[in-house]
């Protein structure tokens, strides 16, 4: 169990959400024009990333809206979420998947002091 950040409602328990699989997979514009292999690729082929993964979530029990999020698939820590149509945020290159964007900010500010 982990926390998910809804772009509107904020950090909530994962049980309030539904998972929607990998994000940013565009449906072929002309399904009739492509081969079975290409269609199969669209339906089934996924990155199966170990590390930072862009994925879709729905705040089913809350506002009911879909959004995208970046999650570390090893630690299950969500970095940040972003609304549909927005560009994905970029976690720092050395992100170890242990802190979310908000904690990371706080830790960085603490280190400066």
């Amino acid at each position: 169990m982990f926390l998910v950040k809804c772009p509107w409602c904020g950090w909530r328990d994962q049980t309030e959400f539904s998972y929607g699989g990998e994000a940013h997979i565009a449906r072929p514009l002309e399904p009739g024009q492509i081969s079975d292999a290409e269609w199969g690729d669209y339906i089934y082929t996924r990155r199966n990333t170990k590390g930072v993964h862009a994925e879709r979530w729905s705040h089913t029990q809350g506002c009911g809206r879909w959004f995208n999020a970046l999650r570390h698939t090893v630690t299950d820590v969500m970095w940040d979420s972003y609304k549909m149509g927005e560009d994905a945020p970029t976690p720092p290159k050395d992100w170890d998947g242990m802190t979310c964007c908000d904690d990371h900010k706080k830790l960085a500010e603490g280190a400066k002091k």
């Binding site: 409602c9 909530r12 049980t15 309030e16 029990q61 506002c63 009911g64 809206r65």
Partner: protein, 196 residues
């Protein structure tokens, strides 16, 4: 609790928790608020025409911040999503309000749906209300995190609920008709710990 229908003479209408007595415990009372009108409104709050038309009917601006609400008399307007609001009206006032909203929003992109009979509302009143809700609710209801007037959809065990804090120790919980009995039994069981 049953009553005669105001729309259909001779027909008795009922609530999902008909026949249940209030749950009473030390510092806790759970009752049903039956027959309140409930309307789901959808549209684009950023469209000035939509915002103005809704305001002309409701007498207040739509809440546009997540988890907030507005109150006008006995009517309460809740933010449900960035393009969706929930309106609670006094008993039997929902039909006129729905018709007024539809009339004011003619020609605009909108959805006005009467969901009064799809849900019922439970009220938890008393200093133990947070303790009871902590038995199954996943959000933080501590006074530093949740205030009167705030409202949000969340879960209570397997039930999807919409919860709002009405007063310092009073929570109103909207739940689907078919889940009302489940939730009521959970509250009754949870309250046994503080049986009077």
């Amino acid at each position: 609790m049953a009553k005669a229908s105001s729309l259909y003479p001779g027909i008795t209408i009922d609530t999902p928790l008909s026949g249940r007595n209030p749950i009473q415990a030390d510092g806790l009372v759970v009752t049903e608020l039956p027959f309140l009108g409930k309307i789901t409104l959808r549209g684009d709050a950023a469209d000035p025409a939509f915002a103005a038309a809704v305001k002309s009917v409701l007498g207040t601006d739509l809440p546009t911040q997540p988890m907030t609400s507005q109150r006008v008399g006995n009517t309460r307007v809740f933010w449900k999503a960035f393009d969706e609001w929930l309106i609670w009206t006094p008993e039997d006032a929902e039909q006129k309000l729905g018709a007024d909203l539809n009339a004011a929003l003619t020609g605009l992109r909108k959805s006005v749906v009467d969901v009064s009979d799809y849900y019922t509302i439970l009220r938890i009143d008393g200093p133990r209300s947070r303790d009871l809700l902590a038995k199954g609710c996943v959000i933080d209801l501590h006074p530093r995190a949740f205030h009167p007037g705030q409202a949000t959809g969340t879960g209570f065990h397997h039930a999807t609920i919409f919860i709002t804090q009405t007063d310092s120790d009073v929570f109103d919980i909207m739940v689907r008709w078919s889940f009302a009995d489940y939730l009521w039994n959970y509250f009754a069981d949870g309250a046994r710990e503080w049986a009077a």
